[in-house]
Amino acid sequence: MIHQPIHTLADAYRRGDLTPTAVAEAYLARIDALDRRVRAYLTIVREQALAAARESERRWRAGTPRGPLDGAPIALKDVLCTRGVRTTAGSKILDTFVPPYDATVVERLRAAGAVILGKTNLDEFAMGSSTEHSGFHPTRNPWDLTRVPGGSSGGSAAAVAAGMAAGGFGTDTGGSIRQPAAFCGVVGMKPTYGRVSRYGVVALASSLDQVGPFAQDVTDAAHLLGAVAGHDRRDATSIPAPVPDYAAELAKGVAGLTLGLPDEYFIDGMDPDVERAVRAAIEVLKGLGARVESVSLPTTRHALAAYYVILPAEASSNLARYDGVKFGLRVSAHDLVGMESRTRAAGFGAEVKRRIMLGTYALSAGYYDAYYGKAQSVRTLVRREFAAAFARVDLIVAPTTPNVAFKLGEKEDPLSMYLNDVFTIPGNLSGITGVSVPCGFSVSGLPIGLQILGRPLDEARVLRAAYAYEQATSWRGRRPDLP
């Protein structure tokens, strides 16, 4: 029952071949056996998971399941607030924080009958691309334990890849779902900004953050997204648009669709295995009836710099709340400023401090226009270029990352780490949607991701193309070699 997609589990529940309780027990046992080596989880909620599984079992027995996710064992990135369950954002400053409420996403997943297994590891406050910079411990890539799973949602990606969750959720601010999905050989989707509520999600950069699913296949991704998408009055940036039945649209195929191929996403220094796999994937899509056209996104080369102004600026403001007063760590001092400064120095890790400093500097008097104002204008150019491309093509296809998973400790220099997100960041700056779907392996046996980007709110078409590709290939049958 491990490595079965959620829709297959639901079929087995319906037939009575499997029960949610037996599946939850199997997953918890596998976590016990395996997670000492992968370290995907920060918190396991065994009793809650079993109680939710028993409830689900009763519903399936009574013939009243709540839908395709009822009884699905899932993992949540530890930035999604869970009522009564510690939520750390991967930071020592929130080591003991127990939220008094559920994030909207969590509320909707519980209502759909999902069985939450636990909270997964991440780079502290989602700042990173490797899950090495968690305040607790690094997570390892199930395909090669000496390598990183990507990040920042590396824990959820690794859990799904290793069969320690049937599906999962993460957040994507600059690629933090798509990049670890590519590195771990699973499907990962960043919805349109505003498609999924951010209420109850620990904020990194509020104009970029978006919650989305990790899945073993595209069908599961459609179900997981469908369960959480939609307007939420508690998030003023949530879009009041109806949610299509994503799963029902999947089988429509790509015949007649036009795919845009951006030259700027095939750069010097990228891994030749990645380029080969992505170009082969595009040939597969052509074979299925899609047309391919070249598109130009020239501001791509400035997107990274714009992002590394906007993100630290927003983060420095969001993280001002961790001051040792209302929740989280406090380090005592005789005056308030001393208490705040010592608390933040003790509670935040090096990368978080670096970005808070950078963001505060970029927003400070005399530099605001040169950095923040300029970056916001470059952001407009990135949006315009995508809009112009999407006026001609239905979808854009590209690599998710320039390289496959790297070794732990390999990227010590912050800038070389930032370069990992060069193909995913433009999607966040422009607010569009995108998915990473497995499209092969490097010569060394590491997974490669194909990125499919779509117009705002065009998740159905993005998923449909990903599904067509997935069904035409056999990558999803490959699993990491873990006992």
Partner: protein, 95 residues
């Protein structure tokens, strides 16, 4: 280029008590990152309005109605220090 004084100033603004070693490393790393960010100066953004948000929603309004909210105790439960219904902090104003 930012110098040691700038770094100390920003550390004060952000309420981060950094060690001597951290301040020095921060100066080096921030300069290296800022050198990269300075490539933005080469982009022609003359007349290009800034984007603060990717969604064209402004001023989302709702009725101002009283609704149930989380109980006070649950909001105080995570406080590092409290006094009755209050968050307790070190003295701010001298007697």
């Amino acid at each position: 280029m930012i110098d040691r004084k700038d770094v100390e100033h920003v550390a004060r603004l952000t309420r981060l008590a950094l060690t001597e070693e951290e301040l020095e490393r921060m100066r080096e790393q921030l300069n290296s990152i800022l050198t990269h960010l300075d490539t933005l100066r080469g982009v022609d953004t003359e007349g290009v309005e800034p984007t603060a948000h990717a969604v064209d929603l402004v001023n989302v309004m709702r009725e101002d109605e009283v609704e149930p909210c989380l109980p006070q105790d649950s909001m105080l439960a995570n406080a590092p220090d409290r006094s009755g219904e209050l968050f307790r902090v070190p003295r701010i104003i001298e007697e």
